[in-house]
Symmetry: C2
Subunit: 108 residues, 2 copies
DNA sequence: ATCGATACATCGATAGACGATGCCTCAGCA
DNA sequence: TGCTGAGGCATCGTCTATCGATGTATCGAT
């Protein structure tokens, strides 16, 4: 059984939250999530880039091509006001769901 | 935006957990989850019955046709030993994932 | 020269959730 | 008598998301 790298449906939330720390590019987002989750949240590229597209299309983020300090081109994403609003909603919804599930799990 | 009824990937976990309280049929499982989650976990039939099939096929549950007190036929599901083991794994994995996500969410 | 890390993106397969639909029984009520 | 709603099963098609594989390219270090 291949263990999943992610809880399905939570990736947009994670990306949006990461971007509250400041504009960042895709690779950096994946790194941030990996490092700040004890290596648990391993976002594959095949999941990440489609997610970044979703966020763009929905207007939750804006993108700009830039050069990193190391001289590589990178597409830097920035939260929009709508994105911040969306983040709040997704956070609330996530906590609601987790709370509901845990209330089931904790019953003896 | 249609709000989701379930956190994807958590349905098997919820069903397995529900069955630790004793054998139960599909309809009863859906009711239990609804009632014990403050009406939050609304499992649709199009999600539930495929899930019950999965659990059966994997040997996590056993099924038996019975009659309810009201005289209707019902397929009653019961946890197997393997199902109990599986439940423990899924519980651990869920808490791990939620912990990781919340550690991202709580950073300022 | 090659290799690993950085950086983008797409494609196809798989899986899961969901709404709609269909079939059946029983109890209650008009 | 006939209808309706609740209890019960199940499947089908659609949609969406995750994921592994693949492909391109640059840069620094060996």
């Amino acid at each position: 059984m291949p263990q999943q790298e992610l809880l399905p449906g939570t990736l947009d939330l994670l990306v949006l939250k990461t971007l509250t720390r400041g504009p960042l590019h895709g690779y950096g987002i994946a790194q941030y999530l990996l490092e700040h989750s004890g290596q648990l949240l391993q976002v594959g590229e095949g999941s990440l880039y489609p997610a970044l597209q979703r966020l763009l299309v929905n207007g939750w983020t804006e993108a700009e091509w830039k050069l990193t300090e190391t001289g590589r081109r990178a597409r830097v994403y920035k939260l929009t006001a709508a994105g911040r609003k969306r983040l709040k909603e997704e956070e609330r919804e996530f906590e609601r769901m987790v709370g509901a599930i845990q209330s089931i799990l904790k019953t003896v």
